[in-house]
């Protein structure tokens, strides 16, 4: 099967191309952060003999988990990692949810309202998350 691909240089730098690249690169950042979180939790679990459920809990919810290594885990680096993860997830999710909403809300006014709502949601959620993660 012949494939048709257009080099990035010929696509132009439109909003769609930017959002395509943004969505791809934020998800790559999230995969990297997940891997780093799991490796961090694995290395810490070696000291306590925790089971794999605990390891996943520490990896994905380091700020919520009542883990015995909380003081070690919640370092500035861990906080920064969680903040970057939340911001990446939020940016990635906003574009994804907008694509879904655009498929169902087809009138211009409904699209404008759904767009305003989801962007406001993303900004507010990101600000709350950053504040709580940094100060907790």
């Amino acid at each position: 099967m012949a494939t048709r691909t257009l080099p990035l240089s010929k696509r132009g730098f439109t909003f769609e191309v930017f959002m395509w690249a943004f969505t791809r690169f934020t998800v790559i950042a999230m995969y990297g952060l997940m891997l780093a979180g799991i490796l961090g939790a694995l290395s810490l679990s070696a000291q306590t003999g925790a089971n794999f459920g605990d390891i996943l809990y520490w990896a994905f919810f380091p700020n919520l988990a009542e883990n015995p290594l909380g003081q070690v885990w919640m370092t500035i680096l861990a906080k920064l990692m969680v903040i970057v993860f939340v911001l990446s997830a939020c940016g990635h999710g906003v574009h994804g949810v907008l694509e879904i909403l655009d498929d169902y809300f087809t009138s211009p006014s409904a699209r404008r309202w759904s767009r305003n709502f989801i962007i406001t949601y993303a900004v507010v959620a990101s600000l709350i998350a950053m504040y709580v993660i940094w100060t907790k």
Binding site: T3, Y31, G53, G93, T106, A125, V132
Partner: protein, 120 residues
């Protein structure tokens, strides 16, 4: 002027798009599940006890985890194919590999959830 497509649910379900279509649909369902999860996560961060309770509930994990893992694994396939256009002609093979990986990962994840819920 707004678009009007008039695609009924039965027409959508009977569409013969096969594997790629189902991965597309499941990716959207998984993304929506992640959006709900993200909202609950933010509430839990704010200290809402009910939200923390939902996240820790094994029934919630059992329902949401398969969809969220599908979104993550399917997203990885899409990213790899997008960033390596030469692989696009093998997209059906990629989908088959994705299903094998998904079944293994989700079986392990559900085993961990259930053993944590009932294993003590």
């Amino acid at each position: 002027m707004g678009l009007k497509r008039d695609v009924s649910l039965s027409a959508a379900l009977s569409y013969q798009g096969q594997g790629p279509y189902w991965t597309y649909i499941l990716h959207r369902i998984g993304g929506s599940a992640l959006f709900i999860f993200f909202t609950i996560y933010i509430l839990a961060l704010m200290g809402v006890q009910a939200a923390s309770g939902i996240l820790a509930n094994w029934v919630f994990q059992l329902i949401f985890l398969p969809f969220m893992l599908f979104h993550a694994i399917n997203g990885l396939r899409i990213t790899i194919l997008d960033l390596s256009p030469k692989l696009i002609e093998h997209y059906r093979t990629a989908i088959n590999i994705e299903w094998v990986a998904y079944v293994l990962v989700v079986a392990f994840a559900l085993f961990v959830v259930l053993s944590n819920a009932f294993g003590g």
